[in-house]
């Protein structure tokens, strides 16, 4: 970043201090223990983290990303129900991070991956867990445009993690294709940032910073295709509405705080004190939805598409 003249740097530093003061003063002014109740940590979560730590990743950016996101990945794994019927599970936006554990730990004999790319191609991806090789087939297609290359009802679980917020054109296509390829009673697990979180509250009250959890573009790379940033983040309520519109029944919907955004936790007290809804205010949303064939579908929910 360009070095600013001293007086401007002083102003900026003062603004930053004011910023953190504004979002933190609730800590000091309200003598209340830990703000925002957090759902109890299930024993399974520790087990999931322990499993995930076994993933062999060379030191570098990928490993750093993986470790930073470990709490979310572990939580996601705990939401995957044990196989009951076909034993087939699909992971959309498959990064080979939680993928091996869907088989090794959650017990799915048939793990399939999907990734953005020209339809018709299938890649073979390899990962290693504590020295043990894991392989999966990854089908390439555009999750918001192409027909998914699977038969109706051919999976009992579909994962769509940190994906829906990147879609540029048609998120309901994803929801409805997931519905089609799931068996009746099958589960769709969606995770996405929560744009009504305490962090969004803190930022929007302050007025300077963007309320989205992530509002950063990737620096363009000469040869790499453009990767869309977070195009539309959802409130937890919106995520529920989108999945209900897709003919799913909500089995679980909750949010959790993200550790690096902890400084905004006191905003929970602010909401409580002023009579605003304080539920579903963590930065990370998790949803487990069940396909019910008898439920109606709304192709274009009004909060998501223009007329």
């Amino acid at each position: 970043m360009t070095e600013l003249p001293l007086h401007l740097r002083a102003v900026r530093a003062a603004l930053r201090r004011l910023n953190s003061y504004l979002s933190r003063r609730y800590e000091s002014s309200v003598a209340r223990g830990n703000p925002m109740p957090v759902s109890e940590r299930p024993a399974e979560l520790d087990a999931a983290e322990e499993q995930l730590r076994g993933l062999d990743l060379p030191a570098g950016d990928n490993r750093e990303y993986f470790l930073k996101h470990l709490p979310r990945l572990a939580r996601t794994l705990t939401l995957v129900p044990p196989p009951r019927t076909s034993g087939r599970i699909l992971e959309l936006g498959c990064y080979m991070q939680i993928t091996p554990f869907l088989q090794r730990w959650r017990g799915y004999p048939d793990v399939r991956g999907a990734y953005y790319g020209p339809p018709g191609r299938t890649d073979r991806a390899v990962a290693s867990v504590r020295g043990e090789r894991f392989e999966a087939l990854i089908d390439l297609f555009d999750a918001e445009r192409d027909r998914y290359p699977y038969d109706d009802g051919s999976f009992e679980t579909v994962l769509a993690c940190e994906l829906i917020e990147h879609l540029l054109r048609d998120p309901m296509h994803l929801v409805l294709e997931c519905r089609r390829i799931l068996e009746d009673g099958g589960r769709l697990i969606v995770t996405t940032p929560n744009v009504a979180s305490l962090t969004s509250v803190a930022r929007v009250l302050h007025g300077y910073d963007n309320p989205q959890i992530s509002s950063a573009y990737r620096r363009p790379q000469a040869d790499a295709p453009e990767e869309a940033p977070h195009v539309r983040e959802y409130t937890a309520f919106e995520l529920r509405e989108a999945l209900e519109a897709g003919g799913f029944e909500i089995d679980a919907l909750f949010t959790e705080p993200i550790a690096e955004l902890e400084m905004n936790r006191p905003m929970w007290n602010f909401l409580e004190d002023h009579g605003y809804n304080s539920s579903l205010r963590g930065e990370q949303t998790y949803c487990v939805a069940v396909k019910r064939s008898d439920l109606a579908v709304t192709r274009y929910p009004r909060f998501l598409y223009s007329e």
Partner: protein, 269 residues
């Protein structure tokens, strides 16, 4: 901020703009308050008499000439580079003509020489970019001459409406958060990918080597029910400046100012 006389003139001119059909008329009418303000902010022509309108919709376009006095109006529109449309609009007192060049404003070199324009207008476009918003600002800077002006308008995601929705927790804080329904055989137009707070907009424009002349917001009537929340913000010690839903930024190109290609709040490392 707005000269009332120029605002009134602009509104009248927009209302009598020839449009192809009732749909276009309805869209135009809805946006007249914003478009009229945009025109009212347009500075008088400089030495070249040329203006570039990015995301040219032929709404304010003819009025940049007829009302604001620019000699040559050029349009830019999203599409394959190399193609140029000639647009004509018939007025009772004569014809308006301009060229609209197709290019991708966040990837392709703008097809103009350095320092070619007095003014670049980028109205309601930066929030739609999917890959590289600073590219657009820096190309705008390149095609402006020294002292030339950039006019950017975009929704304000730090507005009182965004505050209201975030406090409530159910609705999306963006001013506009809808996708367009896909149409078979056609490329769907992309919605708002990233909205900016008024502060972020100013910082982005400054990072591109501009000096800010005006940076402010106005309220949009359809969101007026959120206005009482301003009092709440004030009572709780929060800033109430620049809380309107519509951001405006008018900035001057200064070659002497440094450029920050990747501001930390827009790009990851």
């Amino acid at each position: 901020m707005f000269d009332p006389k120029r605002l009134k003139q602009a509104e009248e001119a927009l209302r009598s703009l020839p449009v192809p059909d009732a749909g276009a008329r309805a869209y135009l009418n809805k946006h007249i308050p914003r478009l009229a303000r945009t025109l009212a902010l347009v500075p008088p022509p400089g030495p070249t008499g040329r203006v570039l309108e990015l995301g040219c919709y032929m709404q304010i376009t003819p009025l940049l000439q007829r009302l604001c006095g620019y000699r040559e109006v050029r349009g830019g529109y999203y599409g394959e580079p190399g193609k140029t449309d000639q647009k004509t609009m018939l007025f009772p007192d004569g014809e308006f003509q301009c060229f609209v060049d197709h290019f991708n404003a966040e990837r392709d070199p703008f097809p103009y020489p350095d320092g070619h324009f007095d003014l670049v207008v980028a109205g309601e476009i930066i929030e739609h970019l999917i890959a590289d918003p600073m590219y657009m600002l820096l190309e705008s800077r390149r095609v402006l001459h020294e002292g030339g002006l950039l006019l950017v308008t975009t929704p304000n995601v730090g507005s009182v409406t965004s505050v209201a929705k975030t406090l409530d927790g159910r609705d999306n804080p963006q001013i506009y958060f809808l996708y367009n329904r896909p149409v078979a055989g056609a490329e769907t137009e992309i919605g708002h990918v990233r909205e900016y707070t008024n502060y972020e907009l100013g910082e982005a424009v400054k990072a591109a080597g501009f000096e800010i002349k005006q940076l402010f917001t106005t309220f949009i009537e359809e969101f007026a029910s959120h206005l009482p929340l301003l009092k709440f913000l004030k009572e709780n010690g929060y800033d109430v400046e620049n809380r309107g839903e519509q951001s405006w930024c008018l900035a001057v190109k200064r070659s002497s100012l440094p450029v920050n290609r990747y501001p930390f709040f827009i790009y990851c490392d």
